[in-house]
């Protein structure tokens, strides 16, 4: 087990820079998730940690030691790949045992480890099977098993669940999280799925264009996003944005004037409100009220997502499960005071809550 430190880590591919000097501290035993849109440098960062990619600049420490120049095998890190990469010509047992190929354990000890891992992952009955005869979820578990037996200082996962269907993904999410609780090993996990990030992470790292935008716990990121990108990235459905104007402590939005804005910013702003905070129904006291025509509804059972057109802006509100407004009808929606996020329209940075 070990802490992983990234210090101004840079990756260049010829003239293009994929990672622009990122700083990150992954504490011992922590579950850190890197999220961001496609091409933002998540995999590159992970591969630098694994030693599969040369580090162009900066310092990488694992367990306090600088490992920039070390081969992957000297870093004692295990990695699970998106497409599993389990060896087709070996049985499940051999695949799991392959993680121990270089270890000096005796044969019975190796066997015991393989069996242990197989038990944890529910693969005991499949040890003699070949990968071709496994389901996607089973294959991914074999890949995890191969990583587990090694007893590495850290696990790296690169979008391990993105090839699975939604149901299996949900189940595996829980399994990986349990595994982490059980083993207590440091995990760095890459995904572009914000639900995976929210549900599994101790700490989420939001990346974009090879830079880190924000680091924090899931709740911190949800409650206090530093900019519009993070705000819209975290939470599903994405946060609504409404154009508005700030003048000191007063903000004019959707035909109303909201008082008490503490940042005292003047100029164009964007007001963010999460669909779950914007509830269909008449206004209570204070907060934001909007009216608009319904353009679409998505009944989900427990609630209904209502798409509204308010003065040309498309937003999403929620209604309780059994309420399904008619498309084309005019309805009002309301957000409580404190549920609004204010962003500077010019640089998209967060200005505070309202």
């Amino acid at each position: 087990m070990a802490r992983i430190e990234l210090e101004r880590l840079v990756k260049r591919y010829g003239a293009t820079t994929a990672v622009h000097g990122i700083d990150l501290m992954v504490e011992d035993g922590e579950f850190v998730v890197l999220v961001g849109p496609s091409g933002c440098g998540k995999s590159t960062t992970l591969r630098m940690i694994a030693g599969l990619e040369d580090i162009s600049d900066g310092v990488l420490r694992i367990g306090g030691e600088v490992v920039n120049q070390r081969e992957p095998k000297q870093r004692n890190i295990a990695m699970v790949f998106q497409n599993y990469a389990i060896y087709p010509h070996m049985t499940v047992g051999q695949n799991i045992g392959f993680g121990l190929y270089t270890s000096k354990l005796s044969k019975p000890e190796k066997q015991a480890r393989i069996l242990d891992a197989a038990k944890v992952l529910g693969l005991e009955d499949l040890l003699e099977r070949r990968p071709a005869a496994l389901s996607g979820g089973q294959r991914q578990r074999v890949a995890i098993g191969r990583a587990m037996v090694r007893d590495p200082v850290a696990f790296l996962f690169d979008e391990p669940l993105s090839n699975l269907d939604a149901q299996l993904r949900a189940a595996m999410r829980i399994e990986i999280k349990r595994l982490h609780q059980r083993l207590g090993t440091t995990i760095v996990y890459v995904t572009h799925d914000q639900i995976e990030a929210m549900t599994m992470a101790d700490k989420i790292v939001v990346m974009r264009d090879g830079r880190i935008l924000q680091v924090g716990s899931p709740t911190e990121l949800y409650e206090h996003p530093v900019d519009i990108f993070t705000a819209r990235f975290i939470g599903s459905p994405s946060m609504n944005l409404i154009e508005a104007n700030a003048a000191g402590a007063e903000i004019a939005v959707a035909g109303q004037s909201l008082q008490g804005f503490k940042a005292e910013h003047s100029g164009p702003v964007q007001i963010g409100v999460r669909p779950h905070d914007l509830v269909v129904g008449e206004a209570g006291g204070g907060g934001l009220s909007v009216t608009g025509s319904v353009t679409a509804v998505e009944p989900l059972g427990s609630e209904t997502l209502v798409h509204l057109d308010i003065a040309g802006a498309q937003i999403i509100a929620t209604a309780p499960g059994r309420v399904v407004p008619k498309v084309g009808s005019q309805i009002a929606a309301h957000a409580e005071p404190g549920a609004l996020y204010v962003f500077d329209a010019a640089n998209e940075r967060a200005l505070g809550r309202l």
């Binding site: 599969l52 295990a78 599993y84 990469a85 270089t102 071709a132 090694r150």
Partner: protein, 288 residues
């Protein structure tokens, strides 16, 4: 290659049986004629090998009085067995060498990025454009200089690695996903072990094809072994059999018997290895 990889009795064949189009009839007819042309000499070879010397010019396909005498004579002749052994040894060594070195170089060219990689590849490929006839004299001079004339090594060395094999293996290794190799790298394997334990098993079909081609090519090689050997003990089977023909009057029935025996190893190699071609294609390990 493609022909080697399809399996008989596939559902496609069954489905096609129903709609017989004129084009198809043409194709089948041509294939049939081709097949007859290919098979007839083989049949005559076996047939002649079962005839006695007097019957050779009696061109009936089924011998009037079949006899195994020729086989007994050939097999009890020490020279034949020696040539058979020479051919087997040489073809096996060259095949193993090709499987090893062609795939090692092919793998390196396919999976490692290094300065001049493209140049090396082009250089290897360009040797394909030089006909063997042009190389025989330099080979011979070289063998003479190094004292390789009339040695096994002298017969084998030109074929120990081939540009074609390297090219074939490179193409196949390129289709092996990097994730497999990287997973092994993270698991702590050294590069040689990764190649041997991970990459090689994934290109078994290509290896089988390469092995079949190389074995057959060397088993039937005639020109170079003829040139580089002087003593009869070092003749390969084709060279030896041809010497049957020049010596006394041509003993067709003996030549045909030798040739018939010579087909056995090639058949064996093909039967053993073609299974792997089919099985290899069905391997699966990635998300698919």
């Amino acid at each position: 290659m493609a022909a080697l990889m399809t399996r008989p009795g596939s559902p496609e064949l069954a489905a096609n049986r129903r709609n017989i189009r004129p084009g198809r009839v043409m194709v089948w007819t041509l294939l049939f004629i081709g097949g007859v042309i290919m098979v007839t000499p083989l049949l005559y070879m076996f047939s002649t090998s079962l005839k006695s010397a007097g019957q050779v010019y009696d061109l009936r396909l089924i011998p009037a009085a079949p006899t195994l005498d020729n086989y007994i004579k050939v097999l009890s002749d020490g020279r034949f067995l020696r040539w058979f052994f020479n051919s087997t040894l040489i073809a096996l060594c060259v095949t193993l060498s090709n499987v090893f070195f062609d795939s090692l170089v092919g793998y390196t060219l396919a999976k490692f990025d290094f300065r001049g990689r493209y140049l090396v590849f082009i250089a290897i490929l360009s040797t394909l454009m030089i006909p063997t006839e042009m190389l025989v004299i330099p080979w011979y001079l070289m063998s003479a200089q190094f004292g390789w004339i009339d040695t096994y090594w002298g017969i084998m060395f030109p074929g120990m690695m081939t540009a074609f094999g390297t090219f074939l293996m490179k193409q196949f290794f390129e289709s092996v996903p990097n994730d497999f190799l990287e997973a092994a790298r993270v698991d702590g394997l050294n590069e040689f072990t990764i190649w041997w334990r991970i990459a090689m098993p994934m290109v078994v079909p290509a290896i089988s094809a390469l092995a079949i081609f190389t074995f057959l090519g060397n088993w039937t090689a005639f020109f170079w072994p003829l040139i580089v050997t002087n003593s009869r003990e070092l003749y390969t089977l084709p060279v030896g059999l041809s010497s049957f023909a020049v010596e006394q009057s041509i003993q067709w029935e003996m030549i045909m018997t030798g040739a018939a025996l010579a087909t056995i190893p090639t058949l064996l190699v093909f039967l053993v290895l073609q299974r792997f071609i089919v099985r290899g294609v069905m391997l699966a390990g990635l998300k698919g």
